[in-house]
């Protein structure tokens, strides 16, 4: 049970001892620094998660093979009937080449890309595809990959190059990124023809060396995903054309041999569902479809969006880096604990006569020790609150501060071209902040432990005679 004099003297020392202000400043700076580091690194992890999640549905079903899998339409239809599933969409994925050749305008441009065949309406309901489109995000209604009724007036749209359909390119495929993180678009490119080539696969899984599938498309828009570096450069084309180019359309070379159309992937939106449970149910549905159709094919992979190999590795790495940064900066917090120890050692030495007086009027050893514990706790609490008062606005205004530092001193620390997001995350991570503040108070108590015990164990007569 605390006695009144312990609280009273701890508060009085806190107010009157200027030396304690250095302890408070050390705690405040450590807390502020850790709030900033933890919030910014945590913000990056959160942004990556959100961005990655936005690029996919909640569950991805894919064949572990470039050949894709059949009966995808049955699986999509049955998935849509499940509780918690809001949308499902089939996707074709295949490697290809994008070629732009417009002499006089753009020099010859050929780039290896990932072709995504999508049904724009269902795909944009399942992912954040529409929100990332440069032009169509501003238009009501679902996005489209259909050719316009009237082709644009473009000198490169000749008789020889009649587009089969429209396409959307990932913005990083054709645009450079400026230092502020925005893309410099070549506006003449939109409405121009591009050539997409893919290697056709036979049903045997071998490359059909005699046939190169090469379709002209009209480039109508670009897509700015949130995490371009973790996704391959992508070109979006209509599902049916991708299916045709990849030879995944239904196939029959004789009436007794029929192979159904295929897809590479199904993405499912089920934001409120238990994804692990939903995965099991989808697997059950697939197994029944395969059984009913006597299909024994490729191994199927059922994953949540964050279980995908590239994403889970990246997020794990980021979380580890965040922990590492917090620990490294936390080590600097340990320096504050040592500083508190030194300062409290000096304070206790200075207060030895007071300790003698307090014991002479009946103060117990434990009570004397608690004065310095409460004092250190108060230093921790005040330091933490001051640290919060510094760290919180710093995080919230970190981009403005960064801009000001850049303008004034020419220091530009954050490069959005490298770190992918245009701005530094500026939301305070409150759960981490609470842990940091509690740790600061505990650290202050630890720092004061030896001086407080020394004060408690001091014999009253030694303390009274101390000079």
């Amino acid at each position: 049970m605390l006695h009144h004099f312990e609280l009273f003297l701890a508060c009085r020392y806190l107010k009157k001892k200027r030396l304690a202000f250095f302890s408070i400043a050390a705690v405040a700076l450590s807390v502020a620094m850790l709030i900033v580091v933890s919030s910014v690194t945590g913000g990056f992890v959160k942004q990556y998660r959100l961005a990655c999640h936005g690029s996919y549905g909640d569950i991805i079903i894919s064949a572990d093979s470039l050949m894709g899998f059949p009966y995808y339409d049955e699986l999509v239809a049955q998935a849509r009937e499940l509780d918690g599933v809001q949308e499902a969409t089939a996707v074709i994925k295949l490697p290809g080449l994008l070629r732009i050749d417009q002499p006089g305008r753009f020099k010859l441009f050929v780039k290896g890309v990932q072709i995504l065949g999508i049904e724009p309406e269902s795909y944009s309901k399942t992912t954040e595809f529409k929100a990332g489109l440069w032009k169509q995000s501003k238009v009501d209604g679902p996005p489209s990959l259909a050719l316009p009724d009237k082709l644009p007036d473009n000198p490169y749209l000749t008789e020889g190059i009649k587009p089969k359909g429209a396409c959307v390119v990932g913005v990083e495929v054709v645009c450079n990124r400026s230092s502020d993180g925005s893309y410099q678009r070549k506006k003449d490119l939109y409405g121009s023809p591009v050539i997409i080539s893919v290697m056709a696969l036979k049903r045997t899984g071998l490359i059909d060396v005699d046939t190169t599938v090469r379709y002209p498309f009209l480039l109508i828009d670009d897509f700015e995903g949130s995490v371009p570096l973790i996704t391959e450069p992508t070109v979006y084309i209509p599902f049916e054309l991708a299916q045709k180019m990849s030879r995944m359309v239904e196939y029959s070379d004789d009436p007794e041999h029929f192979e159904p159309a295929r897809a590479s992937q199904i993405q499912i939106l089920a934001p409120d569902a238990d994804l692990q449970e939903l995965k099991k149910r989808l697997r059950g549905i697939w197994e029944k479809i395969a059984r009913d159709n006597n299909y024994v094919g490729e191994a199927m992979v059922f994953e949540t969006w964050d279980e995908q190999e590239g994403i889970s590795i990246l997020i794990n790495q980021l979380e580890h880096e965040r922990s590492l940064m917090t620990v490294l900066f936390g080590i600097m917090g340990v320096v504050s604990i040592f500083l508190i120890f030194c300062i409290f050692f000096v304070i206790v030495t200075e207060k030895i006569p007071d300790i003698g007086i307090i014991k002479s009027v009946g103060g117990s050893s434990a009570g004397v020790g608690r004065i310095f514990f409460v004092y250190a706790g108060a230093v921790g609490v005040v330091g933490s609150l001051l640290g919060l008062a510094m760290g919180w606005p710093f995080v919230v205004h970190i981009n403005a501060i960064h801009d000001w530092v850049g303008r004034t001193f020419g220091w530009k620390i954050y490069d959005p071209r490298v770190l992918l997001f245009p701005d530094i995350p500026n939301e305070v991570d409150w759960s981490a902040t609470m842990i940091i503040m509690i740790a600061a108070v505990v650290g202050s108590l630890i720092g004061s432990m030896i001086p407080a015990v020394r004060a408690a164990l001091m014999k009253p007569i030694q303390a009274l005679r101390y000079e």
Binding site: H4, F8, L9, K359
Partner: protein, 233 residues
């Protein structure tokens, strides 16, 4: 034998400093009745202050016993000794020993704060404040209640220390050279005050002093020499 407030029996106290052993008290015997004003004299280093600290339970003795109200205090736990010191014994030191961060009023209330938990203090705070102001008024310090020790004269600081010693209405007041740091006039005022406390409030006082003239103000005088008490009068 039963009519004593404090009694020391065969007290031995030794100080050791490296190879040197100094026996300050050698089988000291002392008994003090309630209401007595006792002075103990002796030359510097004779062990007067040591004796006072032992009687006030501020220090440990090597052998012998001290009885407070005929209860052997060596059998008490540290907590009960602290309580006894807080409730029954008041100290006045030569160098006042006031807490510099506290006002006169707060210094006076310190023993009352020590004796109360945070909760019980809420209930008695107003009463203790009133009581402290009454004591300060009696000692002529009411106007100085909000001053800090550094703003007071030596006499005022010593009166503040007396007020602090009296706040819990202790049965025994121990004064260690209470005038040793004061000029003659101010020291005389402090002695007048102690005499008044003894005569009007029947306050038991044990005062140590090296000065026989100061000791003469007490009712009974004892002399400490070679670690033992010798009666003076």
């Amino acid at each position: 034998m039963n009519n004593t407030i404090i009694r020391a029996e065969n007290i031995v106290k030794t100080y050791t400093s490296g190879p040197e052993v100094l026996q300050v008290l050698r089988g000291l015997e002392l008994s003090v009745r309630p209401g007595e004003f006792l002075a103990i004299t002796g030359i510097s280093g004779s062990g007067k202050s040591t004796l006072l600290h032992l009687l006030g339970l501020l220090d440990e003795w090597d052998s012998g016993s001290i009885y407070f109200d005929e209860q052997d205090v060596s059998a008490l736990s540290a907590g009960r000794r602290d309580r006894l010191r807080n409730q029954q014994i008041g100290f006045v030191f030569q160098f006042y020993h006031l807490l510099p961060e506290l006002t006169v009023l707060e210094n006076t209330m310190l023993p009352a704060m020590v004796g109360n938990s945070s909760f019980s203090w809420l209930g008695c705070r107003v009463k203790m404040r009133r009581q402290a102001l009454e004591v300060l008024t009696q000692l002529g310090l009411a106007e100085r209640a909000k001053h800090r020790p550094s703003q007071l004269s030596g006499g005022e600081q010593q009166r503040t220390a007396i007020a602090r010693a009296l706040i819990n209405k202790p049965r025994l007041l121990l004064a260690d050279e209470p005038t040793g740091n004061l000029d003659v006039d101010t020291g005389g005022q402090i002695l007048d005050l102690l005499e008044t406390l003894n005569s009007q409030h029947n306050q038991t006082i044990i005062m140590v002093s090296h000065d026989p003239d100061i000791a003469n103000r007490a009712h009974r005088r004892l002399h400490l020499d070679k670690g033992r008490i010798h009666s003076n009068s």
